[in-house]
Amino acid sequence: MKLKAILIVVFALVLIGIQNGLLRFLGGGVFSLSLAIPCIVFLGLEDGSIESAVTSAGVGYLLDVFAGGPKGLMTFLAVALFLMMRLVGAAIDVRGRTSFAVLSGVGTFLFGLGALLFLRVVSPPELAPGYRLLPRLFLDGLLTGMVAPVIGLVMRWIDGLFKREEPGLLS
């Protein structure tokens, strides 16, 4: 399981690298992407184990590093998002790429909203991020939701690498 967690964190790292590389050419600052967040959404929905929570925290730590802000915020938000998705996964049966895309989009938006709120708490009023960022957060969620199914496919593939086959009744 540790290997799976490492693989997912590495995958998230690659996604962040791709995201940074892409955003250099696309958007030009008008929009952004959060490609690592669908990984957390997937972990919350599909696995929900404690190892997945730690993995989510690991992904959050990566986001913290790349965000450049005070450490801990993204980690906290990643774990919170994981928890939320686990609750969603327990409440409703989430199947299909569209559902995953929608939840990834919503999760990304909420992740950004949470970061905005926490940053407002700790920042001086003149430096606090304003709510004018909400449209950008919405666009961020929308775009991330659009590419989330592809990330979900890779995550499913990684997940499949570590799943043991259940012995059937006939075996």
Partner: protein
């Protein structure tokens, strides 16, 4: 207690993660710390990924832009090529016009040199220089334009021939080089008389009836004498070359290089003021001989 912890192990761990990260955040919020070595390592690891993404996108963009640029270049090259062809055609036309202008200027200068004559400019529209037949050029002017038989045809350089046949819209010149053509001439330098007869060769004619006693040397210019009733006097005909004086006989022999290259004629002048009487036949070799003897 242990059983309780075991039962809510996951929830507790989640809470620990949440609280720990939140505390960390608030602890660092006021005093942001420098990235650790591990953080720097993580940041460094993504560098190659970002670079490769950048190279890939830049490569794709360059390829695309290059492709689009090449397409435009190709189109532009096609347009320029077309323009070059058009310009070459125009240049060729202009060169032809320039050459034509030069020739016409010469003709004009020629006509102004003898204002008492009347000229009719004509364009050569057909060439028949068959060695087996008559040496004839066809002109685009005929009887409807006032052209008549026996009219002399000249260019600025000299004699071309005379009108042989006339139709309403076209006429034919019997060239100086035709073997049936004979033009009464004089040596410009010594005024010695002789006839220039064609040999059906564009580059050379024969000199007839030049008395042995006449002063004639190679390079002498022969001009029309005006005694044949066709050509006005003083028009250049050719240059004497290859003079041969035999030990006996009445005449000396020589070749004549025509001053007009009939193979390259495009425009000519028909002298219309010296119209021969209707039905007048060209001077025959016999008549010419008699005149030369006189």
């Amino acid at each position: 207690m242990l059983a309780l912890l075991k039962r809510y192990r996951e929830l507790l761990l989640l809470l620990v993660l949440l609280v720990f990260s939140l505390v960390t955040y608030f602890a660092h919020a006021k005093r942001p710390s420098e990235p650790s070595r591990f953080d720097k390592l993580i940041l460094t690891v993504t560098g190659p990924i970002e670079k490769s993404i950048g190279w890939t996108i830049t490569g794709v963009l360059r390829t695309w832009q290059g492709y689009v640029g090449l397409r435009h270049s190709h189109q532009r090259a096609m347009d320029l090529n077309r323009q070059v062809i058009d310009l070459q055609v125009q240049q060729q036309e202009l060169l032809q016009l320039k050459e034509e202008n030069g020739r016409l200027r010469q003709l004009l200068g020629f006509t102004e040199s003898a204002p008492e004559r009347r000229y009719l400019g004509a364009r050569v529209i057909g060439v028949r220089l068959d060695p087996k037949g008559l040496q004839i050029l066809t002109l685009d002017h005929g009887s409807a334009d006032g052209v008549a038989k026996m009219m002399p045809v000249v260019v600025a350089q000299g004699v071309v021939g005379r009108i042989q046949n006339v139709m309403p819209g076209i006429s034919e010149i019997l060239l100086l080089i035709d073997r049936n053509s004979s033009v009464a001439t004089r040596v410009e330098r010594s005024r010695a008389r002789a006839n220039v007869r064609g040999l059906n060769r564009p580059d050379v004619c024969a000199l007839d009836y030049a008395l042995r006693s006449e002063d004639m040397i190679e390079g002498d210019l022969l001009v029309t004498s005006g005694t044949d009733g066709i050509f006005p006097r003083g028009l250049p005909v050719g240059k004497v070359t290859n003079v041969k004086r035999n030990g006996r006989g009445l005449y000396q022999a020589a070749d004549v290089v025509p001053v007009v290259d009939v193979t390259r004629l495009e425009e000519v002048l028909i002298i219309t003021s010296a119209i021969a009487p209707p039905g007048a036949s060209p001077p025959s070799a016999q008549n010419q001989r008699q005149e030369a003897v006189k």
